[in-house]
């Protein structure tokens, strides 16, 4: 059926001591929940998304956060089915290739790589901002915090951060369980602290631009326009990005039947509560105006918590710096693994040059692919710093689009792969066809709408080239770049594109 199975052609007798490479460590509901929250990295996602979301939908932010979860949920259900049907595959690239053949598969893989490269650069950008902010708080010298706005220092610091993360990833290091627990607990405590402090200031009348709470904030359909609504949903997908991991950790959980589902539910419950709390508190404290601390202020919106932590938390603002810095640093390192492994798999199936398929003999990690991911992320970051007046906002908007693209491709891959067996029973119909289909359609609509809207020069940071919005140009460069690379690859190495390395099929095929 596939040629993913390793060819056991070793000359000498070979025995495996432990059957498969899966860790014997078993993860319970709590452990899987911690993994889920740690993947989402709420401190980082909130600081990156609060501003752009308010810019899109204003006070409807809490409602948008709630409905934004729906497409993520629908697609993740499909992900889970693909994951259990093709246990040897693990990325959008292999899934989409198996379902749709090499061309769409290649672009699906490309979408994933691009999305991760964009998020790597955004993560590094947030980490750099908070690093200098923390130095400033530590030494009581605001000049240190301002160093982050010096482009040269900023780009070079980012290089250091990315290279450090890249190196740790190359060495195959993973965050230990204990560190992960501590960081997750710390993030939750600091974010709740921030929210409570903001609400207390609202109560005592010291809030920056007090905005009375309204139940109408939870109605997403009060968003100013359909474009605003889709932009908000696109950002919400970004804030839940990573949640699907809890559904696919079943291979190492104590009870693969129940643990992932319970952990995923618990994770999303905690994340919902946290996001709503922080979103409401931020709205009540700052308002949506364009004043110094207003959520609509373009000067602060790419990294809102950096600006608000000081006024809200006073001397304890440094805790927020630590929480965001640690969550983005850990995310930075672990996020390298995704694109590196996808490029590695693409190299292996000859969809990318062979060099990408090399594994470091010492550290057993895809060394070349990891290095390439690091370099590309940094070049992207440096280019964006030069071109955009609000690099963080623009990258988040681009990112939302990219996530919609590769999630959408994967969702449709699920529908297509299971097309014949989906009609055999109700459960299969719902999980393998209906849910991913609806999710995929929603993502497709969001993708198309935001792509169209981003042509407007006023979109995002209002950076534009020749009157066309920078975000649109960026998306086009990334997509056409992918198509060009794909065609070059097709010329140089046709095997993959002729379906000789990874065959197309559906769930009912038998070898």
């Amino acid at each position: 059926m596939t040629n993913i199975d390793p060819s056991r052609s070793a000359g000498a007798t070979t025995s495996g001591l432990s059957d498969k490479g899966l860790s014997a460590r078993s993860i319970g509901v709590l452990g899987a929940t911690v993994i889920g929250i740690s993947c989402i990295a709420p401190a980082y996602t909130l600081t990156a998304s609060l501003g752009p979301t308010v810019a899109a939908v204003g006070t409807q932010m809490p409602g948008i956060f709630l409905v934004g979860f729906i497409p993520m949920l629908l697609v993740s259900l499909g992900y889970r089915e693909l994951n259990s049907a093709m246990p040897d595959a693990g990325t959008s690239f292999t899934w989409a290739t198996r379902a749709f053949g090499p061309w769409i598969g290649w672009m699906g893989g490309w979408g994933l790589i691009v999305a991760t490269v964009v998020v790597l650069s955004n993560l590094a950008g947030v980490a750099v901002d908070f690093f200098y902010l923390m130095l400033g708080q530590l030494f009581g010298n605001p000049d240190l915090a301002d160093l982050a706005s010096n482009v040269v220092i900023n780009v070079l610091s980012c290089l250091v951060f990315l290279m450090a993360a890249c190196y740790l990833s190359y060495r195959g290091m993973e965050t230990t369980k204990a560190v992960r627990y501590v960081l997750v607990a710390f993030q939750l405590v600091v974010l709740v602290w921030f929210s409570v402090a903001a609400l207390v200031q609202f109560g005592t009348g010291t809030a920056f631009d007090a905005l009375a709470f309204s139940a109408g904030w939870f109605n997403p359909f009060l968003a100013p326009s359909f474009s605003a609504f889709t932009a908000g949903i696109s950002l919400s997908i970004f804030i839940f990005w990573g949640w699907d991991v809890t559904l696919t950790v079943n291979e190492v959980t104590k009870n693969p039947k129940t643990t992932p589902g319970r952990a995923a539910t618990l994770t999303v419950g905690i994340i919902f509560a946290l996001y709503i709390l922080v979103a409401v508190a931020a709205l009540m404290f700052s308002g949506v105006g364009v004043g110094e601390l207003g959520l609509g202020n373009e000067g602060i919106r790419g990294n809102v918590l950096a600006a608000l932590a000081g006024p809200v938390m006073g001397p304890f603002a440094i805790l927020m710096s630590l929480a965001v810095l640690s969550s983005s640093a850990v995310s930075l390192q672990s996020t390298f693994v995704g694109p590196a492994r996808t490029m590695f798999a693409m190299g292996h199936y000859k969809a990318l040059p062979m060099r990408f398929a090399s594994i470091s003999p010492r550290y057993k990690s895809p060394g070349f692919a990891t290095l390439v991911a690091g370099i590309v992320a940094w070049v992207f970051y440096a280019a964006m710093r030069m071109l955009s007046t609000d690099m963080l906002t623009d990258t988040i908007l681009t990112l939302g689009m990219m996530i919609c693209f590769y999630y959408g491709v994967t969702a449709f891959a699920c529908v297509w792969y299971f097309r014949t067996e989906a009609f055999t029973q109700a459960r299969a119909f719902f999980l393998k066809l209906l849910a991913p289909l609806v999710g995929g359609v929603i993502l497709g609509v969001i993708f198309a709408t935001t792509l169209y809207d981003s042509m407007n020069p006023d979109y995002g940071s209002r950076s534009n080239i020749g009157g066309v919005g920078l975000v649109f140009i960026l998306a086009m460069v990334l997509f056409t770049g992918g198509v060009v690379l794909m065609l070059l690859m097709r010329r140089a190495e046709p095997a993959f594109f002729q379906g000789r390395t990874l065959r197309k099929g559906s769930s009912t095929d038998r070898a």
Binding site: I4, P6, S7, R8, A10, G11, A12, T13, T14, S15, G16, L17, S18, K20, G21, L22, S23, R25, I35, G36, S38, C39, I40, Y79, N83, D88, A89, G90, T91, L112, A115, T116, V119, G172, E174, T175, R180, W241, G242, V245, T248, V249, E251, V252, S331, S334, T335, V337, G338, P339, R341, T342, F344, A345, H348, I359, P361, R362, K364, P366
Partner: protein
């Protein structure tokens, strides 16, 4: 003895891994043991990250690569040596190798030193280093660039006066039983090491004391040894351990034995400071033997 001894060879697809194989071959030719070439791959579960790149894809391809590496490793084994290749999954290389030792009931672990060593000498890599602090069986270290000789002709045993020397001797006795190989016992004497104003007389006294100890060693060994070959003793002195090691002649076809530190747990090894410094100057493979009271004697 019906049981055939076996040695775990810590393999990785690098020069260091090849050197470990070379030493494995040399020792297997000497004692007739079988080799277990072990490649340890890291357990990695789905790495928790925003991009749900589950481990399975990578894991399957990594396994494929591992088997390919092992197939290459098997080609390095000459016809006169029996070897199996084994793919292991563990959280760390050290953990995997220790599990293999337990599983195969192995007698020794053979590991290459770090590539970064200069002048063909030892610098300990991280895997070797952690094995040297945790292994229940002797650890054999291959120096940089090591190639197996046709035959090992001499075993040099560096022996001190501290408790544990007898266990080291017993280990060498067990290892050399029935073999045709020369044995050389040396003690290393540091002159002027901590007595800056040492007189020539004191140094001579030191050497005499060492000489007397070596005679005790020789008596003990000659009574028990069932090896065929010449037995010699030597006292090497130098202003430090490295110089003392360099003062000795070393043949390309020899291996060295040293006991582990008193700091070790009763059953495992722990490389002492002197042994560690010896390593820096040693041009031949070194086997570090557990000398704790509960150490198991192996072939």
């Amino acid at each position: 003895m019906t049981r055939v001894a076996n040695y775990v060879v810590a393999y990785e697809a690098t020069e260091r891994g090849n050197e470990a194989i070379e030493l494995g071959v040399a020792l297997a030719r000497l004692t007739g043991a079988e080799l277990r070439l072990c490649l340890v791959l890291p357990h990695s579960s789905a790495v928790p990250a925003k991009v749900g790149a589950s481990a399975s894809d990578f894991q399957a391809l990594l396994e494929e690569q591992g088997l390919e590496w092992l197939a290459q490793a098997a080609l390095r084994i000459p016809a006169d040596v029996v070897a199996t290749t084994n793919l292991l999954w563990a959280d760390s290389a050290t953990e995997g190798l220790l599990q293999a030792v337990e599983r195969f009931d192995s007698d020794r672990i053979i590991v290459g030193a770090s590539r970064r060593g200069i002048l063909n000498r030892f610098t300990i890599g991280s895997v070797a280093n952690s094995l040297l602090h945790a292994s229940p069986v002797p650890v054999a270290l291959a120096p940089h660039g090591y190639r197996a000789p046709e035959q090992i002709t001499r075993i040099t045993c560096a022996i001190g006066t501290r408790p544990g020397w007898r266990t080291l001797l017993d280990s060498v006795l067990a290892f050399s039983e029935g073999l045709t190989v020369d044995l050389r016992f040396v003690t290393l004497v540091e002159v002027d090491a901590y007595r800056t104003h040492a007189t020539g007389g004191e140094a001579v006294a030191d050497e005499n004391e060492s000489g007397a100890h070596l005679r005790t060693v020789l008596d003990y060994f000659s009574t028990h040894s069932r090896a065929h070959g010449d037995i010699t003793t030597e006292v090497a002195s130098g202003h430090n351990v490295e110089a003392a090691v360099e003062a000795l002649d070393w043949q390309e076809t020899e291996i060295a034995f040293v006991g582990s530190s008193r700091l070790a747990q009763p059953t495992t090894i722990f490389l002492g400071i002197t042994a560690h410094r010896m390593l820096h100057a040693l041009p031949v493979p070194l086997i570090v033997v557990p000398t704790g009271t509960h150490a198991r004697l192996t072939r």
